[in-house]
Each structure stands twice: as structure tokens, then as C-alpha cells.
């Protein structure tokens, strides 16, 4: 197992280098000038030439790349052109939001998707099957931005003033503030990586609220996450539902299921203990792969629901020609994707003891 993981990590290094190179080149192919995107169109040539010198944009692109990779090797992701701050601190502020959103979207997609798929498979060709698969097809077809705007309009405007009203944007109700963990626990003096980790966790408001037992903030934070999580999780939910249905139908036709039924096991146990466990193997793969889709889908979802995670950050970075941020975000997403794929592969061994990694 360890050898397998090490080998996978080593194989990931050239993949990552390739991604860095491609993103570096693509970012510089975006039409437009970083200076005027950052300083405004009235910035004159002299200001812009000084701007380019300051950010190293006056150097030939290969030289810029070598400098960038050199800094990257030292863990320096660079300084944002737009914000004038280290990208690491920007990511530390914004990545938790996206992780939190992706987690709840994935939770929604998995729970609802597997449940629908299971109902559909068990009641094959029944109205329930047709209904759930219609929901699944609708979910696959509807673009995130349409669903997002629709949800926001219905729950924030149409249902305004009813118990079903939900906030259309933001992470918390204006005026509600979350205390950072360092403050809540009296650790203001803490510095270095432990403080960074604490701040990172603090920025996941639901986790923060749970750890500090701030139930009102937890409820408020969850209310703000419902609509974006549904918007983001609907497509993977539909895929998971369809995959669960077909996989479970395959499994339910196998001999050992017939044996289990012949032994007189209750149907509920046949499905849960024998059918679902084996049927879930491809579903887990889909769930893992969905994470990549969730991170890219977050670009639209975060924009629609005004959530400043890395999706919105990369949108703003592309608009503002903030090359450093574009590169950093893509690298972080790529690493996340590689790690998740590895975790999914490793999880096979746990789900199916017949699988041996090596």
C-alpha cells in the first residue's frame, strides 16, 4: 500500500509540472494588459512600464517561468498583482469557503443521489423509478447558473417573509460575525504554521461554529450554504443517482444475491448488506471524480451566490489579468484533484477486499 501511494505521488510530479507550464503559458495568452487591468485604462505608459518591472512582467516569458518555478520550489506562490498581498494568504482566506461549499454539495449529491438511485433500482419500471430518473435527467441537463439564479429568486424573493425563505448570497447574515478560533480560544499570540492552520479552520464557518459551540452562527452559516450547495451538487447528484441505479441493478441480478434471498434474508438486508456495498464501488469513483467538477463548478456557483472562494477568485483573477493568482489557484485545484483521486483509488481496497493495490 505504502509503495503504491509513493509511486502515485512520484508519478504526480511530472503531471503537476506539466500543469504549471501549461497554465503559465495560457495565463499569458489572455488578451489584455495586466497593468491597465490593475491600474485602470487611464494608467499611462510610464506607470505601466514601472508596474511591469515591479512584477517582473518586463522579463521574457521563459525567464519569468524559471523565476516562478524557483520561487514555487521554495513554497512561494507569489504576490497578487491586484491585491498586493501574498497569494498564500489569499488562498488561506478563500480556500476554506470552497472546501466547505464543495463538502456540502458533495454531501447533498451523495446522500440524495444514492437514495434516489437505490429507490429507482429497487422499484424498477415503477412510477417512482420514472420520477427519480426524470429528476436525475433534469439535474444533469440544467446549467448551474440557471439553477442558481432560479433557486435564489424563488427562495429569496418569491418566498421572502415565509419560513422557507433562504438568503441569496454571502456566508452569514450582515452583522453576524464569526470569532476566529485564535480569538475564541485565547491563542492570539500563536504564530507560524499552527496559527495559519487555525485561521484556515476558522474560515470554515460551520466547523468554526461547531468547535466554539456557536449554534446560532452554525445555523446561519448552514442556511447560507443550502442554496449554493444544491446548485453546485445537482449535476453530480444526478450522475450519482443514475450510476447507483444501474450498478445496483447489475448487482441485484447476480447469483449471490439470489442465494441470499433463497436463504430467507429480509429484502432490506439483501439490498443494504449485500447489494449496496458492491454496487457502491463505481459510485465511489464517480463521487471522487465529481470533486473536480465541484471545484470547477464553484466558479459559477460562487459568482452567482456571491461567495468569495477560489472559484470567484480565479474569475476575478482572469478578468484582472492577475497571473500569479490564476497560476496558484490552478495549482491548488490540480493538487486537490490528484490527492482526491489517490484517496479514491486507495478506498477501493477498503470497499472491496479482493482488490490489492501495489
Amino acid at each position: 500500500m505504502i509503495r503504491y501511494i509513493v509511486r502515485r505521488v512520484l508519478v504526480s510530479i511530472p503531471v503537476l509540472l506539466g500543469i504549471i507550464l501549461i497554465v503559465f503559458v495560457l495565463a499569458r495568452m489572455i488578451p489584455g494588459d495586466a497593468c491597465r487591468a490593475a491600474l485602470g485604462e487611464k494608467a499611462n505608459d510610464v506607470t505601466c512600464s514601472a508596474f511591469r518591472v515591479r512584477y517582473g512582467l518586463d522579463q521574457p516569458i521563459p525567464v519569468q517561468f524559471v523565476i516562478y518555478v524557483g520561487r514555487l520550489a521554495q513554497g512561494d506562490l507569489g504576490t497578487s498583482i491586484r491585491f498586493g498581498r501574498p497569494v498564500t494568504s489569499l488562498l488561506a482566506e478563500r480556500l476554506p469557503m470552497t472546501f466547505e461549499l464543495a463538502f456540502f454539495a458533495l454531501l447533498f449529491a451523495s446522500v440524495v443521489g444514492i437514495t434516489l438511485g437505490r429507490i429507482s433500482a429497487i422499484r424498477r419500471n415503477s412510477p417512482a423509478d420514472v420520477g427519480t430518473m426524470m429528476v436525475a435527467n433534469f439535474g444533469v441537463s440544467i446549467p448551474v447558473f440557471v439553477l442558481g439564479l432560479l433557486l435564489a429568486y424563488i427562495f429569496a424573493v418569491v418566498l421572502k417573509g415565509t419560513p422557507f425563505a433562504l438568503p441569496p448570497s454571502g456566508r452569514l447574515t450582515p452583522g453576524v460575525d464569526v470569532k476566529p478560533l485564535a480569538v475564541a480560544w485565547g491563542l492570539q499570540g500563536l504564530g507560524g504554521p499552527p496559527r495559519a492552520l487555525l485561521d484556515f479552520i476558522s474560515n470554515m464557518y460551520t466547523v468554526n461554529a461547531l468547535l466554539t459551540l456557536q449554534w446560532a452562527i452554525l445555523a446561519d452559516s448552514l442556511r447560507h450554504l443550502i442554496l449554493p450547495a444544491i446548485a453546485l451538487g445537482t449535476i453530480p447528484m444526478a450522475i450519482i443517482a443514475r450510476m447507483t441505479r444501474s450498478s445496483l441493478l447489475d448487482v441485484l441480478g447476480l447469483d449471490y444475491i439470489r442465494t441470499a434471498r433463497a436463504k430467507g434474508l429480509p429484502e432490506r438486508h439483501v439490498i443494504s448488506r449485500h447489494g449496496m456495498r458492491n454496487a457502491l464501488l463505481p459510485v465511489v469513483t464517480i463521487i471522487g471524480l465529481s470533486l473536480g467538477g465541484l471545484l470547477s463548478g464553484a466558479v459559477l456557483t460562487e459568482t452567482i451566490f456571491n461567495l468569495t472562494g477560489i472559484g470567484k477568485t480565479i474569475t476575478e483573477a482572469i478578468t484582472g489579468r492577475d497571473y500569479v493568482v490564476i497560476q496558484a489557484v490552478v495549482i491548488v485545484v490540480a493538487i486537490t484533484y490528484l490527492v482526491v483521486n489517490l484517496v479514491v483509488d486507495v478506498s477501493y481496497a477498503f470497499l472491496d477486499p479482493r482488490i490489492r493495490l501495489g
Binding site: 488578451p31 489584455g32 494588459d33 491597465r36 490593475a38 491600474l39 485602470g40 485604462e41 487611464k42 494608467a43 499611462n44 505608459d45 510610464v46 506607470t47 512600464s49 514601472a50 508596474f51 518591472v53 515591479r54 491586484r82 491585491f83 498586493g84 489569499l90 482566506e93 478563500r94 469557503m97 439564479l149 435564489a152 429568486y153 429569496a156 424573493v157 421572502k160 425563505a165 438568503p167 441569496p168 448570497s169 454571502g170 456566508r171 447574515t173 450582515p174 452583522g175 460575525d177 459568482t303 452567482i304 451566490f305 456571491n306 468569495t308 470567484k312 477568485t313 476575478e316
Partner: protein, 587 residues
Amino acid sequence: MSLRMRSRLLALTATAAIAFTACSGAATTAPTAAAPSQAPSTAPAPTPSATAAFVPMTYPATGEVTCPSGGTAGSYNGKPYNGEFKSIKALDAKTVEFTLCNPDVAFLSKVAFSAFPINSAAYLQAHVPDGSIVQQPMGTGPYTLKEWVKGDHITLAANPNYWGPVKPQAQTVIVKWSTEAAQRLVELQSGNADGIDNVGSTDLNTVKNDPTLTLYPRTALNIFYIGMSNAFKPFDNEKVRQAVAMGIDRARIVKNFYPAGSEVAQYFTPCAIQFGCVGDPWYTFDPAAAKKLLADAGYPNGFNTTIHLRDVVRGYLPNPTQVATDIQAQLKQNLNITAKIDVQESTTFIDNANKGKLDGLHMLGWGADYPDITDFLDFHFGGGATQQFGKHYDDIVAALTKGATTADTAARQAAYVEANNLVKQHVPMLPVAHGGSATAFKADVTGAHSSPLTDERFAVMKPGDRNQLVFVQNGEPGGLYCADEQDGESLRVCAQINESLYSFKVGGAEVEPALAKQCTPNTDLTVWTCTLQDNVTFSDGTPLTANDVVMSYAVLWDAAHPLHKGRTGDFAYFPGLFAGFLNPPAQ
């Protein structure tokens, strides 16, 4: 100093901030008074200047600034100097004197700009070196910064020490941001926000028809125009340019492609700006007369040309390609001119326009930096203008120079009547539209308004029976030390925290005294003496003195000053409006 010179100086001085790091240790002039020193702290504490005997500062403290003259750079400290300031001097604790190198009739409009805030000298010394001022501004304004949750919102709390006659109506203001107009509207409709900026052009009727909301159209301080360069045929012929001026139905363009609140431009400068609309209004649409003029110019059958543009949405041009297509159709229909459309990348287009490389018609516009006619006419048609319209029109330059060097209202009026009439005669461009925009607020917000300069004042707004006002703007501020910021999103927030010597009237573009009771010029407009308000304190309790004003301007003016630091270090508005830095770094 000629306007051409001034323009060149803008370019020269813009590099100053960038090269500041290299120069920061050299040629820096300390004020004559002992600079108050204070450990970085936000705790309320009177500064030495408040407790000790007042020692007035002068900047620069040593050496003489030689002003630029007749196109030749001046000098200071052996370095060329092309700026407008000659010295800044505290005459006593409440009086500051600005000596300029050349008359500046727009001085008050410029100092009213929120990019020139007055900071506490002690606070600058404590918070500029470590850059914390960018995140933690402190000023005399009605609000103080309570928190800035990056990427999410900014919370402002009412300043308990606010000196002004009108105290902040809402105890808390929360500023949020969203780039999407639809999203901002949903925030307002859902009740999550009390006000939003820039209502989408397709949402205007939605807001108007909602009794719980009120729309506040914003006076447009911008201009969309169709430029023509006299360096290229056939636009070197004045009759051709006049024919184009008469041959395009501008009202049709505004009606079809502009949001409510927009208006057909009769002059280059919006009428909200003093002297903007003096002289003869623009030609009426008359295709027959236009065709005759074209025939007289030797083009009875029209000609082929190009419409250059960039596909970038601006307040003055919300639908660039649709407008270009309509102009193309009108040229063909009304003048038999065949035009092809050339869409260029934004910065390439601006470069090409400024360098006079656009050979046909070009679609461009301008938004006000400060509400004075010099910002519109001088920048485009003055001696320092770019080559956008080809060779400068000397008679326009002369009229503008007259207008910019006198404070006499009648003389200015006469100069701008002449200038506007000459622009109409020469037609370097065809003014088309002043593009409108709007804010929207809940109907129960009293004092709600929109500002032509986009610096809405939250202090005068009372959100019903609530104590908290939530406003959603387009974007997140880059930083809150607004001397070094340029975007309206930053400047709007800064304007709640910091104040300048003058300010613009709420919802208007006229200047009125703010931290200064008054600033009065000498007869030739080269010395402006400002008397400060009494009993003004910063939000940390420090009293405002003339030395704070000197220091606030000195750190902007002198590129080699150790406190000439901000988020980017560009301080682009200072050289933009006052022609140049002291100690500009070598290019």
C-alpha cells in the same frame, strides 16, 4: 506650464512611485517641524503635535523648488521637476498655504477628491512603514473601519468623535460587493441589502415598478464620442467631419442602446459641470445637409472607412458592438459611407488612440476624475492632449488656456463659450451620449441618493427603523489608503472614513468646504490659503492641525519621501491631477 507639458509630466511622474524603493533613502526632505513619532498603535492618544507647542511644517523643508517654465522642466535637488506644487506650508495650527507653479482654477475640485485624504501625521508615521494603513485607515470621517472580512464585507461603525454638524444616521454600515447586477438586485429584493449600486440596465423597470424600492438615477459625468483624426484622409477635411456630425442620429442611438437616465450629448462636457454647456449646442440631425457638405468636400458618393472600437462595456458605452453596428448602418444610409468594423483588444485600442494611429472613426469615452471642465476639455483638446484627434487645434488650445488660468467667472464663461463653439466648428469628435446609471434603495431609506462621482455618503442615510445600513457595490476595494487607490469601490468606502479639505455636495458635483472652512486663492491663482475647521479630531481623538495637511500632501507629492508608500506605491492620481512628483525617479 503648457498643457502639453503637463501631459508629458503625467507620464514622467508616474514612474516615481515604482522606483521609490530605490530612491527612498535619498533626497528626502524632512519637514521643518520635529516630526511626531509614535509607536504603531491605534489606541486613542493625543499626538505630540496636540500637546506640545505647535511648530509649523513646511515642505520641502530645505532647498528651493524651481518651477517648470515654457516647456522646460524645473528642478529640485538636482532632479528635474515638472509638477504643479511649489511648496506646502503650515502658517499656523489652522492655516495651510499651497503655492503652485502655475494657476490652477480647478484646485478646489481637485483637493475635494477622496484620493487626497487628510490623515493624521502621527498615524501616517506609525502605519505607513509597515503597510497597515492600507487595511486600517483612520480619519476624521463619520465612520471608522470596524472590520474588513476579506472577500466578504466591510463593516463601518459610526465615529463617536465625528466633528461634523450632521452625525451618522446609521450606527453601522456594511458594505458588500458583487460583480453581477442580477445578484445585487436579488440582494435588494430579498431584503438582505438596503441599497445597491449600478442597477442593471434591464432591471431599471423592475426597480421602478416595485413600491418597496426607489431608484436614484445618477447624473452622468461621462461622455461617449466618435473621434476623427485630422491626420488621415478624408477626415483632414473639416467639411467631412461636419458632415459626419450632422449625418448620425444620436437620439436614435441613445434611445435604443442606453439605459434610462442617459441623455444625448449636446456638448462634450456634461452639463452638471460648470461651463460644460455654454456656447452653441451640437448640430441637429440633418442627413440632407450632411450629404451636401460631403459633396462639397469632394465625396458626393461617400467613401470607405473603418469604425475602430474595443468591445468593453463602460458606463458611457453600455453596448459597444451594437452601437458600432448602428453607426455603420447610419453612415451607409445617411451618407453612403461604407464602414467596416474593427474591434481591437482594449489596451491596444487605447494605445492606438493615444498615439493617433486610428485612421477612421473611433468610439471612445471619458469619465470624470474631478468635476471641472478642465478634466474634459483640456485633457482631450488642450495643449497636452494626446494625438487622438491628430494635430491639435490651436484656437481651441488658446481658448482653453484662457479658461484655465483665470478664476473670474465671466472670463471663464467667455473662454469656454469660445472653446465649445470651436469644438463644434472643427468637429474633432462627435459627442453622442452621457451614459446614465443608478443606485437603488429600499423605499424606507431616507437620505438615499446617488452621486455623480459615485461617492455616496452613507452618513446621511437612515435605513427605516434599523440601525444598520447594508450597501452592495460592484467590487471589493483594493485597499483603504485611498491616496494610493484608483477604483471607485475603494474611494467610496474611503470617503466614509477619511475627509479632504473640500468635498462634493451630497449627490452633486459642486465643491463645498469640508476640513477646510475655506481655501482662497491669490489674484493669479498660484497661492491657495486654506483655513481649517475648528475642533476637528481624528477618530482616535487626535486634533487636526495644519501639519497633518502638510504631511498628508507631502507624502503624496514627494516620491522619495519615506512615507510615500501604499498598496501599489503608484499614487497615480497625484501626478494625474497635479502634474508630477517631487523627486521623480529616473525613467
